[in-house]
Amino acid sequence: MDSNPPNETESSYPSCSSSRRSISSAQSKLSRPNSLREVTLGDSGSKKFRNGSRGGADSQGFSVSQKEISDEDARLIYINDPARTNEKFEYAGNSIRTAKYSVFTFLPRNLFEQFHRVAYIYFLVIAILNQLPQLAVFGRGASILPLAFVLLVTAVKDAYEDYRRHRSDRIENNRLALVLVNGEFRDKKWKDIEVGEIIKIHANETLPCDMVLLSTSDPTGIAYVQTINLDGESNLKTRYAKQETLSKTPEKEKVNGFIKCEKPNRNIYGFQANMEIDGKRLSLGPSNIILRGCELKNTAWAIGVAVHAGRETKAMLNSSGAPSKRSRLETRMNVEIIILSIFLIALCSIVSVFAAIWLRRHRDDLDTLPFYRRKDFSEAKPKNYKYYGWGWEIFFTFLMSVIVFQIMIPISLYISMELVRVGQAYFMIRDGGMYDEASNSRFQCRALNINEDLGQIKYVFSDKTGTLTENKMEFRCASIWGVDYSGSKGDLQSEQVAHEVEVDGMIFRPKMIVRTDPELLQLAKVGRESQRGKHVYDFFLALASCNTIVPFVVDTPDPSVKLIDYQGESPDEQALAYAAAAYGFMLIERTSGHIIIDFWGEKQRFNVLGLHEFDSDRKRMSVILGCPDKSVKVFVKGADTTMFSVIDRTLNKSVIQTTEGHLHSYSSLGLRTLVVGMRELNNSEFEQWHFAFVDASTALMGRAALLRKVANNIESNLRVLGASAIEDKLQQGVPDAIESLRMADIKVWVLTGDKQETAISIGYSSKLLTSKMTQIVINSNSKESCRKSLDDAIVMAKKLTSGSIVSHNMEGSSGAVITPVGLIIDGTSLVYVLDSELEEQLFKLASMCSVVLCCRVAPLQKAGIVALVKKRTSDMTLAIGDGANDVSMIQCADVGVGISGQEGRQAVMASDFAMGQFRFLVPLLLVHGHWNYQRMGYMILYNFYRNAVFVLILFWYVLFTCFTLTTAINEWSSMLYSIIYTSVPTIVVGILDKDLSKRTLLKHPQLYGAGHRQEAYNSKLFWLTMVDTLWQSVVAFFVPLLAYWNSTIDAPSIGDLWTLAAVILVNLHLAMDVVRWTWITHAAIWGSIVATWICVVCIDAIPMMPGYWAIFHIGGTPVFWWCLLIIVIAALVPHFVVKFIYQYYFPCDIQIAREAEKFGNLRGHGAIEIEMNPILEPHQR
């Protein structure tokens, strides 16, 4: 629509396709579109514009940015005219509100949110039922107390959090920014910024809102931003102002125009808009917008128009919480909750039936029965009072019994569990062993409700790059023109001084030192004349230029030395650029149209005529360079698979063959390889390409596809230059971590996008694969062959694994062959397996294998594999990854762990837990997971027991009160029972108790099996606990009953006895099961008992209560104390005996380890240490 030289800048971040992302920011400087390669050094006078090609990111949906924005989906922003912008449409102001409540809305909104929980609704219904006069079991106050207490605790917590948010909002909203008002820039508070206003930002300032760049201090309109607050990536990103707006100075001339842009959305890598300025229409992409929260760097100032403000900014839209998951234990617990509900209904039914029978039998006496008195004789005609007929009475009895026995369903458990998880999270976050020094990151607990799942993980799905490895790429060796320079002929100069360049008395030095091959170094230095040296020159020129790296100069303490820091999005590119620098090809400047490479002290300027960015379809990128000798060359680098298809195979056959050989040997060393090719362009070829390129990059529709076509045309008939090999170092401690996980009987699956050879070699170096392991490799190209190889593999695996079992049964036979099986399968085969009937086969096979390695898998396949396992087993799965490509897998697994590493924060944002290093998985699972599981399992059982004991005591008494739900226990006591009397110890124990020390757990990873075997919580334990509960309640109830049979005992007195007996009993029961007594545990348990005494005494000191002074009377008699003593002992003896017999004669692993922990040292080092050693490495026997 516009025939003028189109001035397009398109850049996008392919957001989630590949772990190796790259940014496209291609600039070429041409004086005129039709000019020939008029390359002028230092030209600054001519009109500049840039061409850029889009990456292949359109497959992610960015291609929509090319479409017209329909009017109803658009926002119209008039530049520098906020009044007009905002008159029709209500755009959000820039004041933000992360706080949820205000002073006035706090109460209703907070209550509304709290009542979203089922538990609270149960509480509420019970409390409401109790308010009906017919059902008033408890007094008003007592019945509302538990609910009010819980609501209050949560409200105080929410209010505090909200207060902190308010405070940070206020600080944020009152920051100042320069806004154009009446022709000059003035300070304005952030909250007052409106959409449409023009804002000026200086270097190192934070952006107040999302804005479209108009101009920057850079004459070509580049601005660098750091997006660490947005996506966690610390490298700088380039943004561009439009050509048309560059020269405008809004202070002086009025800018007329408007921007039509999409509605606010969360995609931080996408933006589409059109700008109409001075009658010209331009399209805007994600590279023209700078987002709130970013910081402007290396740019003196930038001017932009606010397009999204406040809550509509992408940063605010993205600040959402973690997804909520439900823990396995909690799901499991719900079964028992249902059983308890059945108990509850049974208890209520028993009471109702008995009450019905009693009423029926006494129906003739009820009128005058002194303790019933159905009729009111004060009237002339006696009528019934408080009596609604037999049926209704039964019904009311039922409801009343539900009210009285309400805590049978331990609603307080849900609140306790939440508190316990917060406490557990605190300890996980504070664990010094899970702090990563390198990235300065602590462990993060993003999901709060699945702590205990960490103790039951059976499958770990791990990404490779950045998870097992550091994702810190390092150039290792190269093959150039068929010659391998891997330093094998001589040692690499490891302690070499960095290559430096002296310019104007300043020494420039790359930030990272790369080990160099001396022969290659020599060749690169002097050998330009020789044929061999020329290839080396081209090769390194390609490495230095064919990238999107931006060099930055960093000051050092020594003023004469400057460091050159290569900023780029792909670690591979950085590594290659540093490598080129080490061999003397130092990229020292990249501006919009040219790059300057320092070649052994000699500066050379190359014009970047065009750049085709990396995309995941082509898997290569290319750059078209105008060289100082006026030749035009295209350099291409990319993955071997796609490169060899565009290389002219008729040329230099032997070179191609040897290069292929080298590639193979590199990848089997675990190195990442890239192939570099080049071609010289003649005039006509260049012209042809240039027109196509200009056409494509200015096209409004389908630009990405057009650009890709142009790229495919130029990237053909290449001459192979060589290949580079980059090492991705294993993270510290990965082999040990994998070994520990394997010993803990956790299956580790590695899913990687790398080549099979690379994956296998990483597998070996990370001890995932061992030499003793039999490898089953499945590479199939059709469904049929896939089926066949799966069948074969199953037969083989069966043979191998069953063989090993047989050999084990023959105890002592030294020829026992343990043949673990490792399965290696590639992405192509997985295409046929996933979502077909072969899934079943694969799972069967995989479950026989101890290791599964999937190579060349796409992000969605990763999720598919996790889903495959999740569907077929009830075992817990954990996915760990660091990149955007792992997000789907992380979300799919039961537990998602994100590595906060080099690749941004998407993985962390999607994860439940985030940490800095793979090896932290070991303390996370084996230590914290184990503890959390044990604690939570015990806590749930204990809470069931604790409440059921009390309910049963109430129930037994009801049988002696004509089934009328009278409670001898004071109503306040019965409400305080689960709030004050017994709640604190269980929470403290749930947070602090440790069955085993960290050292023991790490030393014997097998102890993790307790979680797999569900040792801390299962139905056997549940029923045992319930039987124990029954016995304890019988003792606690009937001992006082019989001791006070035929006596003058009054209800409140014996009620106090029952209260105290129950509280002491359950607290001592807990005390018996506590493993580790710290002063906090002591304080909680004994403190609760003391608090109960105080409460009981206080309640009995109120003259208005029927039980006034009861505790003092009964406490003065010895029978009371004898009762308490015998109740506690008699009730706990069975638990104690069973516990002891079980621990002593049927000890579980945990028990033995605990004894070893306590007594191991006492027995001296000799016996125990020698015996322990084999346990550490059972696989090596």
Binding site: G432, R442, S1047, I1054, W1109, P1118, I1129, A1156, K1158
Partner: protein, 351 residues
């Protein structure tokens, strides 16, 4: 940084900004690292056996002492509800008791089996009377009993809250209305035994719960008389029978203190009791008993606690002995790694 992976370490220029950045390393404290000093008790056989033996050693003497104390208590129980009805109307207890003209006096003779040291407590025992029935137990107003200001009582007292002409009843409610009204007169060898009815209620109730300026009003003025009447010139705080009755019994069979006899009774003394059999337990099939009992340090006559202590003590000794036997026969060394599951059954852990 520099210590990791050596080769990638920089020229040293980046050291300063790294240091300047605030480290987020969690501060070390024994609490946050879960390393607080702790005691980790383990149930060792020695510990368990000692515990059981000591329980046995402590419980058996306590059991014997309680049993002994209980045995020393002398108790005379006489059920009189059936026998105090004239034979001709024995089928119609309710009719007899509701007949205002009938002579309710009844004479019983009790023989003292063993010497009874003073004080001898006189109780009445009623069974099948649900003083803990929900309708009943709630039918009172503690505020009204406490102060004359709260005369107009709450609705809890219904139907005994107001008279038919709207006057408040003090004390209101079913509990007060149904107050026990049998009386006993004792004599031995024609000598009257004084029954001391002072101090039978709790001191705390007399002084703080029942107001000394609250007088009975309109009590038992309705159509249906439930039980005792009160002298409206005596404040509630001195109506000790009422106070005793108002303390609701825990169980459907209960005793309440009637008074104290403060002389010793010798064996074979015959006590003549003149009972005014007024209280209607016939309507609900409850029985009435008169109880004379001495006390011990353990309270009244009840063997249960003694037996229970002996049983538990014996059981614990038995357990201790069996654990010793088993420990001798089949000991297990504590903390022996050969008992660990993966050492016992390696086949289960192939990987």
């Amino acid at each position: 940084m520099a210590d990791r992976g050596g080769t990638s370490s920089g020229g040293g220029g980046n050291g300063a900004p790294e240091l300047a950045k605030k480290s987020r390393k969690p501060k070390y404290s024994r609490f946050s690292q879960q390393e607080l000093p702790a005691c980790k008790p383990i149930l060792t056989p020695g510990w368990v056996i000692t515990a059981f033996i000591s329980i046995g050693v402590i419980f058996i003497p306590i059991g014997l002492a309680s049993l002994f104390a209980s045995q020393r208590v002398v108790e005379i129980v006489d059920r009189y509800d059936r026998d105090c009805i004239p034979r001709n109307v024995s089928d119609d207890g309710v009719g007899f008791i509701e007949d205002a003209k009938a002579n309710k006096t009844c004479v019983r003779t009790l023989t003292v089996q063993k010497q009874m040291k003073s004080p001898i407590y006189v109780y009445y025992q009623i069974s099948n009377f649900y003083q803990n029935h929900r309708r009943y137990v709630k039918s009172r107003d503690d505020k009204q009993l406490w102060s004359p200001k709260n005369e107009r009582s709450s609705s809890d007292c219904k139907p005994e809250d107001f008279t038919s002409n709207g006057q408040p009843i003090i004390p209101c409610g079913l509990i007060a209305w149904s107050m026990f009204n049998d009386t006993y007169k004792f004599s031995v060898k024609d000598k009257v035994l004084e029954v001391n009815k002072k101090g039978i209620a709790w001191k705390s109730d007399r002084e703080h719960k029942f107001g000394s300026d609250v007088y009975p009003k309109n009590f038992q003025s309705g159509a249906l008389i439930g039980g005792a009447k009160l002298n409206s010139s005596i404040p509630l705080s001195q109506q000790e029978d009422l106070i005793v009755w108002m303390r609701p019994a825990a169980l459907p069979t209960f005793r309440k203190l009637y008074g104290k006899i403060e002389v010793d009774l010798e064996p074979n003394d015959n006590i003549t009791v003149i009972i005014e059999n007024n209280y209607n337990t016939y309507s609900f099939g409850g029985n009435k008993k008169l109880v004379l009992s001495t006390t011990s340090w353990m309270g009244g006559k009840n063997d249960f606690l003694g037996v229970a202590y002996l049983t538990i003590g014996g059981l614990c000794l038995f357990l201790a002995i069996s654990f010793i036997l088993v420990y001798v026969l089949k000991p297990r060394p504590l903390g022996d790694p050969s008992y660990l599951s993966w050492n016992r059954n390696a086949a289960g852990h192939l990987n």
